[in-house]
């Protein structure tokens, strides 16, 4: 459940002679694996995620989710957007139950689920608040809750903490580690933050730009459960050095 396979995937924007965003991407994510896509802006990491989410089509190659071809978005792949992208006219509760509601899930079932998940992300007290009344971190908690409430087989996160201040980002990373430890959902996590990638992921895939491709796939063998203390672990620093070298090489 939740396996992802890209084979020979390419993406060209603007027809023939256009910009090649992705070239021959081959990679695989196993069940329950947490994989970070790391790279500079313009390297195609978000394009990769959008193709898997079903928001964009690939120009060539094959994308499979649990063995089936990806054709459109769906609740089996919960997406967390960079700016949360909550529906601003709905309060926290209505944003979170939007998915189950339109899917026709029975009210008692989804209400119980929504309450449990809002409790996990620490928003039980704010169900009536509108997104505009929340801080960036809280908004992203709602974004995560709205994806988790659908019990997706994979969570696709597109730089979800990129717009947050450093302190909030740390608390969100801890929250995500905590949630993932409990649920063990497959996660594809797009980021340009090296620390974040190493802290969270089982594997860090470093991407290069022009054309976008995965240049290295580095397993992060740090023990779990991890916390923000992991950030100062000597082994962590070792991985960081390795990845920085790879990224520096990727620029030349």
């Amino acid at each position: 459940m939740g396996t992802i396979a890209f084979s020979n995937v390419s993406k060209i924007y603007g027809g023939t002679g256009g910009v090649q965003a992705l070239a021959e991407v081959d990679f695989h994510i196993g069940e329950g694996e947490f994989v970070a896509l790391l790279g500079p802006s313009g390297c195609g990491k978000s394009t990769l995620l959008n193709i898997l989410a079903g928001f964009e089509g690939a120009t060539g190659g094959d994308v499979r989710f649990d063995g089936g071809g990806v054709t459109k978005p769906g609740p089996d792949r919960g997406v967390v957007f960079q700016e949360a992208s909550l529906l601003p006219w709905l309060n926290v509760w209505d944003n979170v139950v939007f998915g189950p509601k339109v899917q026709g899930i029975a009210k008692p079932v989804y209400e119980e689920r929504a309450r449990r998940i809002l409790d996990i992300v620490g928003l039980s007290q704010f169900t009536e608040a509108l997104p505009v009344q929340l801080s960036g971190g809280m908004r992203q908690r709602v974004g995560i809750a709205r994806a988790l409430v659908m019990e997706p087989r994979a969570l696709l996160m597109d730089e979800p903490f990129g717009a947050l201040d450093a302190q909030t980002r740390l608390s969100m990373q801890e929250l995500l580690l905590d949630v993932w430890q409990k649920l063990k959902t497959t996660v594809l996590f797009v980021t340009h933050d090296i620390d974040e990638a190493i802290l969270l992921a089982d594997r860090v895939c470093v991407m290069k730009a022009r054309p976008g491709r995965i240049s290295r796939d580095i397993p992060i063998t740090l023990p779990r459960p991890r916390s923000i203390d992991t950030l100062t672990d000597p082994a962590f620093v070792g991985f960081k050095a390795e990845i920085m070298a790879e990224m520096r090489g990727a620029h030349h």
Binding site: P75, E83, L87, F126, L130, S135, R146, A147, Q167, L170
Partner: protein
């Protein structure tokens, strides 16, 4: 301060309503708003001689007021003053026509605007026709209206619907086109059908634009009702306006004009009040609360 937990809301959720402005502030606003009209009325009164200005062409405000009061509350009696006591009936006649035509324009214009904004096919099919019918002024529709509906209130409703339809459909279209891509993506990701996306994302996201269209459309609706009543209906404020002019009752003409202005203003306030409630989320995002 919460350092790592980050659960402090920017604005307290318990009191989300915008503060009502304090009474002195409201009084001040009212006073400011009244300065110009009061000054105009005083100047007009002072410029008059024997109850008239412009060499007798127009009555002074006191005469207008007297005529208006008789029009509003006078006893119809034995028909010595054909206007006495008929104000309310005419106001209701015009207002009902505007309400009916405006409602019809909303029922057609909003769904159509959403579809045009959402679907390139519908847009290509319908939008060009709307754009080349739109420059035809509502007055040019009068002959057709009379030909179809005769001298009746239905013709007025027809003209109001046409007049209000364009700003409603155009603004709704714009609102539906401008919906943030990620809102739609998020809804699709959560399993929404195309219909769900239209109803639960595109429509609410377009509401701010739709309300702009409603306000413009209602203004045109009042124009349309007066024009058509002047020409093709035997009741309402437009009918009285033209009738009073014909018999030289300029006091009634002016009272009628002020009545139209008041009704237009009050109906606009009504829409703004609905908008304030429906778009609370939007208001809280804006700088000028």
């Amino acid at each position: 301060m919460a350092a790592i937990t980050d659960t402090a809301p920017v604005a307290p959720a318990a009191q989300p309503t915008a503060k009502a402005s304090p009474l002195p502030g409201r009084l001040r606003k009212l006073a400011l708003a009244l300065i110009l009209p009061v000054a105009l009325v005083i100047a007009w009164q002072l410029a008059g001689k024997d109850g008239a200005i412009f060499g007798g062409a127009l009555p002074t405000p006191d005469r207008v007021w007297k005529a208006w009061m008789l029009w509003a509350f006078g006893n119809p009696g034995f028909g010595l003053n054909p206007y006495a006591g008929t104000w309310m009936a005419n106001v209701i006649a015009s207002a009902q026509r505007v309400a009916a035509g405006f409602a019809l324009a909303i029922v057609v214009g909003v769904p159509l605007g959403i579809l045009i904004g959402w679907s390139k096919t519908v847009s290509a099919l319908v939008d060009p026709s709307i754009q080349w019918l739109r420059p035809v002024p509502i007055t040019a529709w009068l002959p057709i209206s009379i030909a179809i509906f005769g001298i009746s209130g239905l013709g007025a409703i027809f003209l109001i619907t046409i007049g209000a339809f364009y700003p409603i459909v155009i603004n709704t279209t714009q609102g539906a086109r401008d919906v943030e891509r990620n809102w739609i993506r998020a809804a699709l990701m959560m399993g929404a059908s195309r219909f769900d996306v239209l109803l639960r994302v595109v429509l609410p996201a377009a509401l701010p634009s739709i309300f702009t269209g409603l306000r413009l459309g209602l203004g045109i609706g009042w124009t349309a009702v007066i024009v058509s009543e002047m020409v093709a209906v035997k009741s309402g404020l437009g009918y009285v306006l033209w009738d009073a002019y014909y018999v030289g009752r300029m006091d009634i003409v002016i009272a009628d004009m002020v009545s139209i202005g008041l009704l237009g203003y009050l109906s606009d306030r009504l829409i703004v009040a609905v908008e304030m409630t429906a778009l609370r989320w939007r208001r809280m995002q804006s700088f000028n609360q």
